[in-house]
């Protein structure tokens, strides 16, 4: 399937799958030091006693990595204009050091902006590691409309 460029190129039910992002222990700790310095994201021993049962990435980092994959494989080939927001994000399983993340994307809805030459594309990002699904992120990026280009 051709990579979509404009709002009009997105269709409900479209699916895309891509990515291989290795999550290292160093990156988990570096992100956590800056944005989420809780013991279960920083320290193996402290993490064992937490609900996560061992060192795991901040959920915000999982979202950021999903964004990186979507940017590389969709947004930077398209006329992307930012994001309206995230309807629902579920962190389903811990992401561990050494996990390889990939993304499956499905377009759920499309809606033209009422006044501006833009359109909203609601999509679900299912994030998987090498074993199982780890997160589900329903979000609505914005794209330029071809008709206005």
């Amino acid at each position: 399937m051709d990579t979509p460029r404009y709002f009009e190129d997105f269709r409900v039910g479209q699916k895309f799958a891509f990515g291989a992002y290795e999550v290292t222990k160093e990156e988990i700790i570096a992100f956590a030091r800056e944005f989420d310095p809780q013991p279960h994201h920083l320290d193996e021993d402290a993490a064992k006693n937490s609900l996560l049962g061992g060192l795991a990435a901040s959920g915000w980092q999982v979202c950021a990595i999903a964004m990186r994959l979507a940017t590389d494989h969709i947004f930077n080939q398209a006329q992307a204009r930012g994001g309206a927001g995230v309807e629902d994000c579920r962190w389903l399983k811990p992401v561990r050091p050494g996990d390889m993340l990939r993304l499956e994307v499905e377009v759920l809805a499309t809606r033209p902006h009422p006044r501006r030459p833009l359109g909203f594309v609601t999509m679900r990002w299912d994030v998987f590691n090498q074993r199982e699904q780890v997160a589900s992120i329903v979000n609505t990026p914005i794209f330029a409309r071809r008709s206005a280009a």
Binding site: F35, D36, S50, A64, V86, E87, C89, W91
Partner: protein, 157 residues
């Protein structure tokens, strides 16, 4: 809320988490790693873009909420009740572009507490979280969720 068990957390309690000033250097550094779109990483391309200049990744503006929440002792501490693990969030809205030099004030307010049959040692706390510009304009908001350990296992709130 650190040091508070689930039973002790009050619905309606609001806390200002602090302020954060976004520099161009930090905006670009975050976006190069996680959101390398031209309007986040390239000042010249950004000046010609829809946004008219560099803006922060929305994921950066919300990650700063987490940083300030942890600094405000929301979430896990090495001693005290176990907390700080979340099943997700809802209704995150990026309402206005965040530009270099802007200072945002972040806050959190407890909106709901839910007892969990599946995890009787823990309860869920929902919160409404905001980032506002100095003139009060709402820039970002979301509904957060976090597991907090209970003083006594099971039972209603």
């Amino acid at each position: 809320m650190s040091g508070h068990y689930w039973e002790e957390i009050e619905i309606g309690s609001k806390q200002v988490l602090g302020q954060y000033t976004f520099t161009e250097e930090e905006i670009v550094r975050f976006a190069r790693a996680y959101d390398p779109q031209p309007f986040h990483i390239d000042p010249q391309a950004a000046s010609r873009s829809f946004y008219g200049g560099i803006i922060a990744s929305g994921w950066h503006t919300v990650a700063v909420w987490m940083r300030l929440a942890v600094a405000s002792h929301i979430g896990a501490a090495r001693d005290g009740p176990r907390a700080g693990v979340s099943p997700g969030f809802e209704d995150l809205r990026w309402l206005k572009p965040v530009r270099p030099g802007m200072t945002l004030t972040y806050s959190t307010q407890v909106t709901e507490k839910v007892a969990l049959k599946s995890r009787p040692q823990f309860g869920l706390v929902k919160s409404r979280n905001e980032a506002r510009a100095p003139d009060g304009t709402l820039m970002m908001s979301f509904i957060g969720k976090g597991f907090v350990e209970r003083r006594t296992t099971g039972g209603a709130a």
